[in-house]
Symmetry: C2
Subunit: 402 residues, 2 copies
């Protein structure tokens, strides 16, 4: 009955801790404070006045800076506003209302639309599908990415399958990196829908926690190589590089898709915030500047990931399993009765992402996955939160069985 005693003590401490969202901590944001005084000039490399309208595709120098980091040629990158989620949402909306290259009709004219959702996955991807009436089908994740046998079978046989959501590097929430073979199969597989797309949310492209960065195969190049040049929609952003709310976002794809995308966004905007683009170029400078900046992030959040791993190892042992990512923002914890664990934690003042959020429709059939977001709290708060969470896991296992 020690878990019950520990839980009673936990509740008495009247904590108020939040592990819900993948937010950078204030100290991480401090790393970019020099940006508040930038740019020092309003002129772009080409001498264009960045203060005025125009340049829908974004500054060439910013596209060139991020091209190698997100594996998209600079000419095939479009720089968006402060949110890659907006780019993803809007791409789906554009596809609903404007026929994709290779497509036969607008998606809104299809009787049914289906997206594959590797699970555990990112809840905001699922929310876009729910809002826009797209049916979601869960696909299990393996250590190499989505189970490609399942994916290949579904896309080959079902023409309503128009997309798959992927966070290929340091995946949200498991931290898994897609293997080269997974990426190759995504690029090469035959699909029943002529306008099938891989939504490649490379949110953590440069977000390494170790000195040996994970390598990700080049989806866009592989798609072209395998005769499916228009299959990949690539997304990235600096939301977790510079300021979470004031970064820049990137869309990358084939020339035909980029032309389609710009034809749509040209009706939506006269151009992006080029001053913020200049600010990013001046602050980050080049790929090595980005890498150096990301090492500072790793110094701040690496110890948090280690702490979570240490506490879970000490407190839970065989009661649970969890991932030990080499990058990204999340740890995926697998426990019995996840919903009940999250409820007990909440009652003890520890807010976690709702159990099930990692699955389409908020439904985790095994009721096992809890997403831990360790970056925002400081080390002391994080330790209290994970110790408390461990108490809840043990309590629920004791009450409901493991």
């Amino acid at each position: 009955m020690s878990a019950q005693r520990d839980y009673a003590a936990l509740v008495q401490r009247d904590l108020s801790l939040d592990l819900t969202r993948g937010k950078p901590s204030p100290r991480q944001l401090d790393l970019s404070d020099a940006m508040l005084g930038l740019p020092t000039s309003h002129l772009t490399a080409a001498g264009v006045d960045a203060r005025n309208y125009g340049d829908l595709q974004g500054l060439p120098e910013l596209r060139a800076l991020f091209a190698p980091l997100i594996q998209v040629p600079a000419g095939q990158i479009v720089v968006g506003g402060n949110s890659s989620l907006t780019l993803m949402h809007d791409t789906v909306v554009h596809a609903l209302l404007s026929t994709l290259p290779g497509g036969e009709r607008r998606w809104v004219e299809e009787p049914q639309l289906t997206f594959l959702c590797p699970v555990p996955g990112y809840d905001r991807h699922f929310t876009i599908c729910e809002r826009l009436g797209i049916t979601m089908v869960a696909v299990p994740m393996t250590a190499d990415g989505p189970d490609m046998d399942v994916v290949e079978r579904l896309v080959a046989t079902d023409p309503t399958v128009k997309g798959i959501w992927c966070v290929p590097k340091y995946s949200n929430p498991s931290g898994i990196v897609y293997s080269d073979e997974t990426v190759r199969r995504l690029a090469a597989m035959p699909t029943a829908a002529p306008d099938f797309r891989v939504f490649w949310d490379n949110a953590y492209a440069v977000h390494h926690l170790t000195d040996t960065p994970a390598e990700l195969a080049d989806l866009l190049a592989l798609c072209a190589e395998h005769g499916n040049p228009d299959r990949a929609f690539v997304y990235a952003s600096t939301s977790k590089v510079t300021f979470a709310g004031s970064g820049v976002s990137f869309f990358g794809s084939s020339p035909a898709n980029v032309q389609w995308f710009l034809a749509n966004t040209s009706k939506q905007s006269i151009g992006p915030d080029k001053i913020n683009q200049l600010r990013h170029v001046e602050f980050l400078r080049d790929a090595e500047g980005v890498a150096a900046h990301m090492r500072k992030h790793a110094e701040l959040i690496g110890p948090k990931f280690e702490l979570v791993d240490k506490v879970l190892t000490e407190r839970l042992g065989d009661l649970a399993t969890w991932t030990s990512p080499k990058g990204g923002y999340f740890i995926s914890l697998e426990v019995p009765h996840a919903r009940e664990v999250v409820a007990r934690a909440k009652a003890a003042g520890i807010a976690l992402t709702p159990a099930g959020a990692t699955h389409p429709y908020g439904d985790d059939p095994a009721d096992r996955t809890i997403r831990i977001a360790p970056t925002y709290p400081d080390l002391d708060e994080l330790e209290q939160a994970i110790e408390g969470l461990a108490v809840c896991v043990r309590l629920v296992a004791e009450e409901l069985g493991a």
Copy 2:
């Protein structure tokens, strides 16, 4: 034959002048250069860290600052990104994909959608309709705004009419200000569609050229007063207040519409660029700060409007008519054979907005309206351009008849 001689001389001068778009001049942009070093703090008035995610509706202090200027209560304003055009486009998209308050179904499920377009009007409004498959019906403008007899008849009898585009103050391109009676009738008129909306693009709300600012009736309040609280969608931005490409935009409406709007945008974004919002608050400070800043703009562009008026008066006399706006960014010139005039001007190195752009589908049936955008060139270039344009008008009148 003096016009032909003048035109030959004009062509020989090999000019390269651009009057196409309503862009602020570099000197206008200089007025806001202090913003490049702002904000000095990342904390909002409420002590929130503006660098991080969140606050979908936008900073309360920025909403409070603009509330009196755009005639929307602060609680009913949403602050968007750098473009009010994006807010307008996205509102139409949201209405297509998500049933409006008072509506019976999503617009995408309607067999036909129609928007009324007062002409001359703003080409980018028309482009949104064309892209999204919305039929446009032109409505003539009077000195008091759209011809309300026509508008009332169309909205009362045709349930496919879902919207009307309005630039109510210093209208694009005529400079007309809607009269109180026009605004009242827009608010009060019965409509066949239960989800009819007035798209109120108040782009030039604070953009006065004289010391006696035009007053605009409060559409949102009048709609509520007349039992149509959800009728008005209000838009504004600082694109022509601070930096054209790096301003902030505003959406304002009834509480029900704002809730609907935020429910949709919450799937699209985790929040706006709050650092840019803080930057605007710190730079503009309050309503009087905005007014003082706009007087500096007027000092720079007022003489340009006067110059155009002077040259047209001297050179064209009875051959043409044109507006003399008290604010905004455009002058509307009415000439015989507008298309031919624009073509001759182009051949002489003077770029004008295409004739017809002020009308839906680029079709000005009378072939009369030319939009003049005098703000960007300096005075000397502007004088050359308008002198040249006058030569073209006289030439074409001589060749084709007035």
